[in-house]
Amino acid sequence: MLEVRNLRKRFGGLVATNDVSFVVAAGSISSLIGPNGAGKTTIFAQISGFHQPDGGEITFAGQSLIGLAPERICLLGVTRTFQIVQPFAGLNVRENIAVGAHLHRAGRREALAHAETVAQRVGLASQLDKPAAALTIAGRKRLELAKALATDPKLILLDEVMAGLNPSEIDEIIPVIRGIRDGGVTILLIEHVMRAVMNLSDHAWVLNNGSLIASGTPAQIAADPQVIEAYLGHGAAARMAAQQQEAHHA
């Protein structure tokens, strides 16, 4: 459904995206993981049109997204959320979601009604009349999800929707995300919460210093020595293997 080929982006001397290629299958939940600064959000920004890549190709349902403005890409059915939540602070929750709903609905009444339906799906139904600025961080993450969902996307890019949530809030949002996929929306996640990645994804890619270093099911990824090194430092995989062996012998 989404195909990224040989994507390259540099900011001055920093190579943010180094020859990255991957394919997101329709109807799947996939994850992009990696340490802080690996370049995950930069890839999202290129897919959604906020940054222009220096080279490579991004196609969605056969159409190239290169050079399109974010609003055009959204109209094609690809919507992103922001890692740092971006609510329309002066509007209430219902009006916030309605901005997304208006993409395919001209009438105010229709858009507000759709906003309510979406709010129910993400568990915001009881807060519809609250100003967005008054929501807790968990509420804002849900709002971020709801606004994007209201545009009726085919592919949704979720940038760390679980960061800053406590374990019980994470447990609440996992079924919400699965429910969105079951509703026919393909999902690509950036996530640090490993429990969620393991639990949700069909497929995961690991990014480090701008390059993909591993690809596979979450279980395969977790056992990959290169991935362990990326997270825990050089030599960590060997040390862990040695420790395990010692423990085995003892």
């Binding site: 403005a69 959320t81 602070a89 009006e95 208006h102 105010r108």
Partner: protein, 326 residues
Amino acid sequence: MRNLAAILIFTVVLLPLPLLVKSDFWITWLTLALFYAYLGQAWNLLGGYGGQFSFGHALFFGTGAYCTAVLQIHLGLNAWAGFALAAVAAGAVGAGTGWLVFRYGLRGSYFALVTLAFAEVFRILANTFAFTGAGVGLLVPLQPGIEQMQFASKAGFFWLLLVLVMLALLFTWRLENSRFGARLMAVRENEDAARALGVDPFSTKLTAIVASGAIAGSAGAIYVQLFLYIDPNIAFGPGMSVEALLVPIIGGLGTIFGPVLGAFALHAIAEIGRMTFGEAPGLNLVLYGLLLVAMVLFLPNGLFGLGKVSFGRNILRRLFKRGAHA
């Protein structure tokens, strides 16, 4: 629906005032308050709902004023036609400036400065050319009669302005309940978030500045018929720009009734100022400056915000903050 009822009540209450108030002074006062309310409504559309703080709305006001005055004097055009053309001309100027500033993504204080600069350029141009009367200005001939938008009694202009203010109120009410309004407010709150949801900020802001400019231009045409005189300083000077922005800021940014409330409050204060300080020229601008500072500090949601303080936000502070490091 509540707002619609309020608009109706406002109109019905003000409608018979010229028949009840016999003093010419008060009729003039009310007429001017309505005039500034109308100008403020134009500004509120772009500044209050769109978050684009113009410091040069005199640009549109003056374009409208000169458009109707020049066409009337040099070509003998009818005043009502001049009124319509003034709106078109000012809307076109809005499209031109909007295209330039929004294409290059100027926001916050940069947008404010560019609008101010454009108004100044037009002021200098109007000061230069003969067909605008240069520094002397233009005198519109007195032709009493409703067909030339000149009324025998003071009440005529009051009613005309009341109708215009009511239409602008209805327009704003429609805006609040429309897709365009939702997009405009989304752009005001957060442009990137709006883009991610498929809103095109460029075309949204451009539409807003054209509409705002057209309304301000029509206010200029009214001004010319009311005073039968226009010169570069009145038309394009900072005085009119300040009035246009102060009225909605005092009343309540991005609210339907804010500009009306603000215009009446501001002109009550200005009147008191005139009585206290006498006719010392320029002192009312000092008063306006103090008022603006006080509003930003203590009542960022305007007088209208007094009613709903719980709505814990303020566009103004955020805008000034954003402007500081834009």
